[in-house]
């Protein structure tokens, strides 16, 4: 899908504040966001810091987004368990899914987390959806409804090549 369509879908659902750490899975989408004057983006130094920043959006009445590579999911475990899930503060996690399908599909550092990424979210009872080129509106509507209903973070998993 086109990167501009991806951001238009999020903006159309009221999201315009993001923080994160970049990933090559959505390289094109990242650049489109940086050039979008309707999106405020804070380039964080770590994924947990990004989640802290983006969680503040909830207090102003909106929903913040976090952009990260799945290698940063580990950095989110503490803030997810002792902040977002405890206080029930929602956010949307847009997660680049490196190492999808296991070796030899990506670099060795992504193989283990690539295989286990969904299990981390299952373990933490965080809802997630897998983005495909043709299911953007469906997965976003379902995921955002789930996030709102449970007031917890939810993750959108994005493989390389799905957004261009």
């Amino acid at each position: 899908m086109d990167a501009h369509d991806f951001w238009a879908a999020l903006k159309g659902r009221g999201m315009n504040f993001f923080s994160g750490v970049p990933d090559s899975s959505f390289h094109d989408a990242y650049n489109a966001m940086l050039n979008d004057p309707e999106i405020r983006y804070v380039p964080a130094v770590r994924e947990d810091v990004a989640l802290g920043i983006a969680s503040a959006t909830y207090f102003t009445g909106g929903l913040g987004g976090v952009i990260l590579q799945n290698s940063g999911v580990g950095n989110l475990v503490n803030p997810l368990t002792s902040f977002n899930l405890m206080y029930k503060i929602p956010a949307l996690l847009v997660v680049g899914w490196r190492g999808y399908g296991g070796p030899p599909s990506d670099a060795p550092e992504h193989w283990i987390m690539g295989a286990k990424t969904p299990q981390f979210f299952d373990l933490l009872e965080i809802p997630y959806e897998i983005l495909e080129p043709d299911n953007l509106d469906t997965v976003l509507d379902g995921l955002l409804a789930n996030i709102k209903e449970r007031s917890v973070p939810g993750a959108l998993l994005v493989r390389a090549g799905v957004i261009s």
């Binding site: 504040f17 923080s19 405020r40 804070v42 380039p43 964080a44 130094v45 770590r46 947990d48 810091v49 990004a50 989640l51 802290g52 920043i53 983006a54 969680s55 503040a56 959006t57 909830y58 207090f59 102003t60 009445g61 913040g64 503490n78 803030p79 368990t81 002792s82 902040f83 405890m86 206080y87 029930k88 503060i89």
Partner: protein
Amino acid sequence: MIARYQAIESILAQIGSDDLVVSTTGMISRELFTLKDRPGNFYMIGSMGLASAMGLGLAIQAPSKRVFVLEGDGSALMSLGTLPLIASEQPANLVHIILDNEAYESTGRQPSISSNFDLAQTAAATGYPWTRRIEDLEELEAALTEAAAGGQLGLILVKAGIAPIEGIPRVSHTPEEIRDRFRGAVQSPYSTYPFRRSHASASLLRSDGLP
């Protein structure tokens, strides 16, 4: 040497009813709660190191509010990379206060490494436009007055002694209560009504024999 709760009292005296305070996990949140519980206090009772990140997100997204971050040296060290991030964003409505007792007091006074260097100098090196290192209460009150009037990002490093309050309670609100009333405070219309601190509750806490 300033006792940390005395520093928090001084800070509370500068905080208006409309101001937002994000306090770190452990004793700092418990002391803030005990000295003056208010809806505009967000007690971050877990997630050590995250208070400054949330304070930054609030300062950017609620520009009509003054945001105070209250954290310790351990918390600041855990998320030291947040200092240059805050300095890069440079929100004019953020006052970042580090209460530095050179120890992890909440877990039993284990020493931290902040005795080896100056976190105010670190912040200045990352680009904070205004920083102060404070060693006594008079200096602190002057710095707080300047920070509150300054209209620019500031960091105050308060060198504090280890002075635990005997029998200090935990924050008694549920996490969702803390969240909901803070959300109300963030979204409340701007007010200039000054906050009046309670001298009575503060003086009760001095029964621990501290000056």
